[in-house]
Symmetry: D3
Subunit: 243 residues, 6 copies
């Protein structure tokens, strides 16, 4: 792991994990834009350089990721968990992720869903982040002792494809209408991926569908790993039903 940029950890920092250089932008780029525009810090951890993809060299993919993160106002680091298409669920990799959680000390963690029927790297990162968020809290793990234990406030999963949405689990929706242009630019930063696949169009179609059911332009679905807890009914905002 290379030296990483210094962060100003506080109780609102967002930490987003992606398996490939474009996952975060495609899965939850609009949500990140909302947070950073409101003045909160966001940090991206990308677990490969896309070297197994059909298009784009690792150097290109790295540059695209840097551009995407910069557009969204997020800092970025790359880590090596075995390489693109080679991410394997293991305790050693999970502890690497837990160490990052301890270092960044985020309030909210975003990761791909652990659903089985998607790119195996996505599921692997999702499962390991879920476990890492637990292990970061435990006091006695020797590989993590360099830094104090940290309990995140929430783990939210994002989906890059419809198949990755967990069946039967209702999402929470984040209204990203106001940041649509910025989200699109962050996706478009991944130019090498635009040639052969309609990923960005897929995301917009998904967000349009969720948005229209909620009476807004675009909404990103997120899947909380744990029940949300509130002090009253007021913060629940409103529900999505318009039809």
């Amino acid at each position: 792991m290379k030296p990483t940029p210094k962060l100003q950890p506080d109780r609102t920092t967002i930490l987003a994990f992606g398996a490939h250089p474009d996952d975060i932008e495609f899965g939850c780029g609009g949500v990140i834009a909302l947070e950073t525009q409101a003045g909160r810090a966001a940090h991206f951890v990308v677990c490969s350089r896309g070297e197994a993809g059909t298009n784009g060299t690792p150097a290109q993919r790295t540059a695209e990721a840097r551009k995407g993160a910069a557009l969204l106002g997020a800092t970025l680091e790359f880590i090596d968990l075995g390489g693109d298409a080679h991410l394997e669920v293991s305790v050693a990799n999970t502890l690497k992720l837990a160490a990052i959680i301890r270092r960044v000390r985020p309030a909210v963690v975003l990761a791909p869903t652990p659903a089985g029927n998607q790119h195996p790297d996505h599921a692997a990162v999702g499962r390991m982040v879920r476990d890492a968020a637990r292990l970061a809290r435990y006091g006695g793990i020797k590989e993590l002792k360099r830094r104090p234990a940290h309990a995140i406030r929430q783990l939210l999963f994002y989906a890059v494809t419809l198949e990755a949405e967990p069946a039967g689990v209702p999402p929470v929706l984040i209204d990203v209408t106001d940041v649509a242009t910025l989200w699109w630019e962050a996706m478009a930063a991944h130019r090498s991926q635009a040639k052969t696949r309609g990923y960005a169009g897929l995301q917009v179609a998904r967000a349009t569908m969720h948005g229209q059911r909620a009476g807004v332009g675009l909404a990103t679905p997120l899947f909380p790993n744990d029940p949300l807890i509130f002090e009253s009914l007021q913060p629940l905002g409103r529900a999505a039903r318009q039809f």
Copy 2:
């Protein structure tokens, strides 16, 4: 339907439906207490007088419901949908509930879950409130034309028993620790029901279990009918995982 108390409808009013005189207190009394203590209006609609129960006369049950509502700071009305143990899902009954929604104009509606394996009156009220919340929005229903259409902000289901919790659907938790005494008193107001059943103890055991997993004393699980929508990640508060 008798004349009902005048309400000051605003965007924070809570409207809670119960099949029997004690359902609201047992299923979500703590949540109501939180809302009314914060100065928001709550109104209860009870759909029978408990006349089919093993214990308590309708007169006793009515008095107990009035006492429970008063303790929680809520107004109360009784309606007749066929009588205790005789509630039937029908369009006519559903429209009665929709008319009440139009009259009270609540932000949030609370109702028993429509899960099948519970007292059939609970499921009937849950299903009809769900449909009534839709019908209250439609402009052309002649039985409802007396009052303007109204779109609620959210429908949240409460469960009176574990079986009534919808399988596989994560709840949102409301921290009711600070109103534990008041919640207990509101349940205890239903003295006729205390003789033979441990309902109140069941609720406290459920709330203790949910609370402990969230690191608080007592938490009430609620089940949103529709995905929640937020403007950013910040209002989500925190997640429940402590173990």
Copy 3:
């Protein structure tokens, strides 16, 4: 029930049920277009005239439905099951639908899904069509004796909203890219509904999303009521995964 147009029943006729004048066009208009353009007969049964809707008079809605059906090359009849927002699941209504199935003798029946969390009329029609397709096969039902029993080949449910899609059940997708313009025109025929709601846009967003995952422009999801049976693997066509 008024006199209805004569049909040429054969083994490929499609019979589509809708609760309201626009349900069929919105939920599966593209699929109907594919079938009728291939020379197969389609017949629509609409169970209300939209008289409870916010916009449009029954006369307007009736005219719009006629225009939509005509555009799609389908015949159309209206039936009365209690009126818009008043459809109730009952044996009498179910037998009316079964009688229509016996008269039309379709190969394939389309109906709204019976999912609970949608307009209650949609769920009511879905449940009753499902039961009616069974009852149409039984020889001894006296209300149906006027015509010989009929076994349909398949019952496929369509969804008008995302909430109406049955959770966890994979759809079959129908590629409607080639009939996109006609589908859009059929939806647009319901002009009174275009004023305040983005129904057509919602359908296109849903179809775009399903289409993109399958590598086609637009795809309509349908939900078979029963397992499909094939003589070999060849007719299965191809699967939807592109991402």
Copy 4:
């Protein structure tokens, strides 16, 4: 991996994976028979020689598998993924399977379901084939660069036991009545397994049950990994309901 027989890859080739020498015959032997009798090529990849089983030596099991494949008109190869009862989900093993998919270039892939509660080797093969079918499409994986990327048309899971059928997911049924004798012979080729277990009888009971519900003699349930996509309603054939 030893040299394997040359195949004539075309758009109809079937590639079936099994964890043990008899899995394919028991789980989907009838389906294979239908395909090969129609002139399509089938190739079996067996991932162990059954050396951990209670009955039969690896040599016997190998010979039985060859006989079973020959009866069904399929070619056969064995691969080594760690040995019977030792199959482990890993990227290296998954890439071995992906390389086979690239070499054989099948239209349809068959594999055991990835359901957890069955012989762990079955689940391991199911999960790895699912991932391998994705990885075979990606252009940049260096272990796979020897051959061009290949996108299969569908991945269908077969179940060897009832527990292996994914809960709540409707199967597609393949009518194997006409090849019942050949299917039985292919199962019977695994003579060493006939001594102590009623596997063949279990399969026939399952196929009888599925067949009778569909009005045919015997039907094999298959579970598509992805939604099926069709150009119209006609290829859907008919649905299974007879009762």
Copy 5:
């Protein structure tokens, strides 16, 4: 309701409900045989005379039901809930069933599953028996006051078809191998139904499949409505896994 035979209620009586004259024999006839051969009383309540069926007159169906019950050692009564294919879920019908439960005072109640995708009469009886078992316990229902309240020990659902088995819910299996002949004879008593449908064969295929997975000849799956409770692990017998 006609006069019904006197029963000797005790803590082991079985009360089985069927929608049609043959449902009980087909769905759980073997289980009944086990109980009556062990000296326990069984009583059948059949809710129609099969007058809507394709084959058999009501008189024939009545005689067949009497023969089936006699073979199984059960007493039998017919009740009228609207007639075959006309059973409707209503409070009035549910209270009729609750009154029977109070009269018979069974330990165990058997009923068809309430699954939606089956003959609507089956689902209607299943749902109403589930509710009736609750209402029979409540002290204040005036229609039931003739007899004292009664709490059954368990409600177990049986399935007549595979579709009627609740998805994702594990059954308990009852080993009916020793009563196979008697079960078959009881099914065969329904001669009018044997002409055109393979119901009995379907049941035997289902029971063979469940039996083989448990290492016995034939097993009937039953679906408890509520969790089972035991005093220790010993009465749990053994689990079904043999493969």
Copy 6:
């Protein structure tokens, strides 16, 4: 693996696996107490010494586990599968567990549920025990040849947290009211864990809730891996519904 105490294997021995020194006591200590008080043997296998926990040294945790097991009348051994927070699902580890099953030859095996959203060690042990129970039956696995194959009678999963309960799967409940004190003492033996976490209180709240729904004081939910099979309806005891 160190030498382990000699057991008197018979058809009633209980074998319980835990990931950490306190898992068995917290998840199913009351059930163990019932069994050993009835004279049946119980043996605990603990797969780590809790060395990654926030509180307690491995030596303390080991002593606490010995005390807990002694209180419950169970024998105990520790095994090493990589260490606390480092348990990894692998064939080698699974075979270690299978070898223990062959040595102890239990009737019933207890293990943590394999649910994903809990401490990853719990899920790892649950999944491996499930697989080990299968592998212990197969005759040809060379690592296991030292001892004869053994088929357990049942595998029952216990949950340490609510999240670990498998969604939508009904438990069987064991009435542990009579051994409440002993269960509490066994949990309290893990003194190092009492400082910062309310684990014991969580268990009692869960057991109270399950008990009250069943009309008993405390009940432990267990989740059978396979359907239960019975010789008649009588051993099913009674169902849990009281509300």
